[in-house]
Amino acid sequence: MATTADPHAIDEATRVAMFRDIARARLFEQRAYDLFMKGLVKGTSHLATGQEAVAAGYAAAMRSDDYVLCTYRGHVHTLLRGAPMDALMAELLGRASGICGGKGGSMHLTSVRHGALGSYAIVGAHLPIAVGAAWSAQARGTGQVAVCFFGDGATNIGAFHEALNMAAVWELPVVFVCENNLYMEYTPIGEVTATEHPAADRAASYGLEGLVVDGNDPDAVYEVATDTVGRARDGGGPSLVEAKTYRHGGHSRADPGTYRPSEEVEEWISRDPYVRYPERLRDDGVDPATLEAIVAEAEAEVDHATNAATDSPVPDPSVILTNVWADGGSSWRK
């Protein structure tokens, strides 16, 4: 890994906040999984269990008016932007109080007012859109940065290359973060990609430095996040970061992930940020009671969100005709 963090350089409050984010994310997704198994979360859902440190490290390094764009594996990124958990849970359950009124679902969580500019279910589609958000920030001179999370599979999509090139030539304030969890759906990325690091090894093609970071280490992610977000904000242009991480489960809810060697799974689970990070914080002198309280609060928040969602009414069928166009323009033909 190119980046090695000195955890003691990061202040304790930030590190505790990162653990809080990881705990909220983990417990939210565990509940989503349980509700899925009970048939209450519909369709499909893609959990980021094991990958939360990437989102937490970036969340801690970002300004509240920055933008995040993510994939269908986007519960965590949207939550950590500050979107209310009640409304996210309600969206998973298809309720009227859902963050997208039930029109989005698990794969399309969005909270524009929190800068969560969308979860994109077409692999790689959002990289050019992140370029646009960064272009607009540059044009408006706001100092905002767009951070775009995507999987390793997206690095072989044409839009990846178009977006990286345009971001580089226009020197845009955008950070591209590849969450390399080693697998696409079921196929190891290494089997279909000619370079060892599918993102970082291609950085030079766009005049960028190839950055690889341990995506299970919140401190390491925070350090690279601070560098790359800061550089973008200061007019230093885009970065391409590859965070090595692992999803504990399968690709989506229906997939047990049995195509992966058990030693590999065990090795990565032993590096679970939800377990290892609080251990490290305790070793560094954080009061264990603080960390326990964080978990208890997150549990309570998830319970509240679950109850609020299940108590919320389902959407009224009349809404299917709304918000196709801004001005109700579908009235010309039903």
């Binding site: 050019p128 178009e162 033909r333």
Partner: protein, 324 residues
Amino acid sequence: MAEVTYREAVTMGMAQEMRRDDRVYFIGEDVAAAGGVFKTTPGLQDEFGDRRVRDTPISEEAITGAVMGAAMTGLRPVAEIMFSDFYATCWDIVANQMAKTRYMTDGQTSLPLVLRGANGGGLRFGAQHSQAVENWAMAIPGLKVVAPSTPRDVIGLLAASIRDPDPVIFLEQKSLYPSKGEVPDGEHLDELGKATVVREGSDVTIVALAAMVPRALTAAEQLAEEGVSAEVVDVRSLVPLDASTILASVGKTARLVTVEENPRLCGWGAEIVSLVAEEGFWHLDGPIVRVTSPHVPLPSADELEDVTLPTAERVVDAVRRALA
């Protein structure tokens, strides 16, 4: 009133809106210093600077993605898609992202953006640079689809598209670029979703779009010599579609001919026919006739392209059949 070309009208419409609203930015391939491959945007970079008027790499996904992201975050961007055939290379962004984002987020964001550029045949460019693609866009909920036929409409509808809160696919018919027409002095704004009766008549309604409008008018003149009074409706905007003007015209004439240059299957003319069949059937005194290109890719040679695209003669013939 001044007489300008359709091509000049594009520049005038762009400049009018860029002067009015500093959130309007413009990007595309060869659009800045070169002024566009069809010379539709010369001088814009000189007037508005290289921040607001920028050349892009040949990257249609990046171009369309960029205007989408920019529109979500406070700009009102316009991008040129050099030839509308190239929409195929960025159709994911246009059809899956732009068109659906407002809906999927339940109105959390509007996408005030315009994709404009050259559409349609008539210049011998062959099947990959000549397609009339309005049907591709019309089939996707969430997009608006506009196709002007005169310089006046270019300015007014382009201004309306740029001011519109939704993504607009603005299709300029490339064979019309040298055509001339009067445009109003000063700022000119039109309204989307309004068809125009460009010629009044009482015996038959001819519904046309873009380059087919002047052909329908030529046909109407020939028909007048035979004593047939044809009303010509320029649809101008396919989404939103002005059903009431079309239905009112058919209510008056009791006959309908549609003229579209795209290939026959699932062309927009079929949508208008179904509209009239459902909501105006009792007005009709005769069979509806559609004039289209045959269902083939557009060939290049003079003799082949000319017989593929609908001609005024074919429109005259269709009207005779509708009146028979």
